[in-house]
């Protein structure tokens, strides 16, 4: 199985390639969730948003022939699901965690329903930029075939970091997340801020989904996302609501998720399923290490129900 010339180097290379390729959905979902959570609300439904995004992107790309329209459709679908989440949460006495669970089930179910006719046809996929042209080794070239969405995501992380610190919108979102009363005292509607933050979060998560169906793995089926959305939500918690840390964490997760397929490609097939579960085990392990029952997490928005 292994390529003779580079042998076991295939594994770290595939992990590196995976870190770039597999991390993109993690990155988009976690950045989106970061915005939502900074405004003081948690959206666990992004798992459903991811799957809906993947389905709608594939469908629109198939119907129109333009994968970029698919990406846009995925974003809009995600924003609509976000609006639904925020709309229900703004009713009195409704719990945002529970609504997230409901939308997780709803989004997945709806995507499977609408996506039934899309399993067979092939839709145009997103193009990749070949950054590995300088190398003769096919594995290196494969690892460095990078999608534009990844670059957008990477650029988005510092932009968000900057926006949270310095822009008016960033400040408003943080105020709503730290103290709803303060935001109200300033004359802003907390519900409106959170609605927008959840919609933007859903938009980004939808785009993350479009990457799944239009680039990697690059097809639509019902097993496309198994927990990437929820892993990304957990990732935000130990990235301490910091967009830059979200980027590093996503890369680490992409690498972990690529470990199983990478080992399989060199012939290590035993434990394939366990290696596939690596991102979940890693998430749990990091949460165990970094959380503490005695203090609230540093950087946690004070209004966030999940950390109280």
């Amino acid at each position: 199985m292994a390529d003779g010339s580079i042998g076991l180097w295939t594994v770290p290379l595939a992990v590196l390639g995976g870190a770039i390729r597999v991390s993109t959905p993690f990155l988009f979902v976690s950045l989106g969730e970061c915005i939502t959570e900074r405004s003081g609300r948690i959206n666990l439904g992004l798992e459903g948003t991811l799957v809906m995004g993947a389905m709608s992107a594939y469908g629109i790309s198939y119907l129109t022939g333009s994968p970029w329209l698919g990406v846009l459709a995925a974003g809009i679908t995600g924003a609509l699901l976000g609006a639904l989440h925020a709309g229900i949460c703004s009713l009195p006495r409704v719990n945002d965690v529970a609504v997230g669970i409901a939308l997780m089930l709803f989004g997945t179910g709806l995507a499977f329903y609408l996506g039934k006719p899309l399993i067979e046809p092939t839709a145009p996929r997103l193009p990749a930029i070949d950054f590995g042209w300088w190398s003769d080794i096919p594995q290196v070239r494969a690892a460095l075939r990078i999608n534009v969405l990844f670059l957008i995501g990477v650029a988005l992380a510092p932009i968000l970091y900057w926006a949270f610190r310095t822009t008016r919108w960033g400040l408003l979102i943080r105020t709503a997340g730290e103290s709803a009363d303060a935001a109200r005292a300033m004359g802003h509607s907390v519900l409106l801020i959170r609605l927008r933050a959840t919609m933007v979060g859903g938009f980004l998560a939808g785009i993350g989904g479009s990457f799944l169906s239009l680039f990697y793995p690059g097809s639509w089926n019902e097993g496309l996302s198994s927990g990437q959305g929820i892993t990304a939500v957990a990732l935000v918690i130990f990235a301490r609501w910091d967009p830059l840390l979200c980027l590093w964490a996503s890369l680490a997760f992409g690498g972990a998720a690529a470990l199983g397929p990478a080992l399989q490609s060199v012939g290590v097939t035993s434990g394939y399923h366990l290696f596939n579960a690596a991102p979940y085990i890693l998430t749990l392990a990091i949460m165990i290490i970094t959380c503490s029952p005695k203090r609230t997490l540093t950087g946690a928005p004070a209004e966030l129900s999940i950390t109280r």
Partner: protein, 370 residues
Amino acid sequence: MTAEAADSTDAVGTVAPAADPGFLQRHGGTIEYVLIPGAALVGALAVFGIFVAMFGKNPLDLYFYMYYGAFGTWFSWQNTLTRAAPLILTALCTALPAQLGMVIIGGEGALLIGALSATSAALALQGLPPFVVQVAMVCAGVIGGGLWIMLSGGLRQYRGVNETISSLLLVYIALAILNHLVEGLMRDPASLNKPSTREIGAANMIGSIPGTDVHWGLVFGLIAAIAAYILIYHTVFGFAARVAGGNIRAAKIVGLGVSKLILTVCFLAGGAAGLAGMVEVAAVQGRTNANLAAGYGFTGILVAFLARQNPLAIIPVAILLGGISASGGLLQRRLGLPDASVLVLQGIIFVFVLASDALYGRIGFLKGKS
């Protein structure tokens, strides 16, 4: 999440008195608990009807086939009850920790681990009298599932890890362990297309309730739900759990052992879901394979929320949702709807039920959250 749980336990006391004193005042809370989820269900069915109408199907046909496939004939009743059995048990996995203000959504994982443990017990004890094997399977299933959810509870109590996320992550980890064992160590070499463990043996299956095709798992579910109800509402332990769920600081001040409460309740919750896994193995599948991840754990979350985390209310709600999933086959055959339509309907119901939380104590008008 604590606010939600506090609502469900305290609302009986704090609900606004109805206009008509007397009957309504005494029973207004109970009426609300039936009326509001009922209205949410009707609303969800209406929206689902509009949804299928957009795909050119007649909603009236839909409702008829749903009723017919769920409760129309003795055959469909049996199908419904067979599906309700694991739903009652997985719903308890969410409802019991909810008394403590915890949102556990990992019933599916505990079900898989319970199934795996029960199968292992049965395979290890081949040759012993069936009754011994069955008792061992029940114990193994309950302990396996119980420890699995107790892990989430322990992580929450000792490490401050959010139990909603950890229990969901554990579902994926449980599925990976199951696939790993079923395709490796525990694989029956004869199972080629669908990797499975060896069969537990026909003699060790728990069989059907006499006169029906409904397996004994339904009785397990009923007993578990009633026991859970008694535990929560009629024992000191349950009272302590509800106090801790309402106000954790008050519970600590009066000297309740919160850690012990959390671990015990999580163990019982996971044990119920693990029992569901055992039932699915010992009454339906006869072996462990990936078929067990049929989503009972996730539907159980919806059952628990629709029943407002009340163990007794879980029984009729589980039968209702068992009926919805039982009618899925008929909807596919007669109306040509995709099999995921049941999931869509469940999702819509869930959304409506949660949105209806806003109505308690204030039927008639909605106010913006201050």
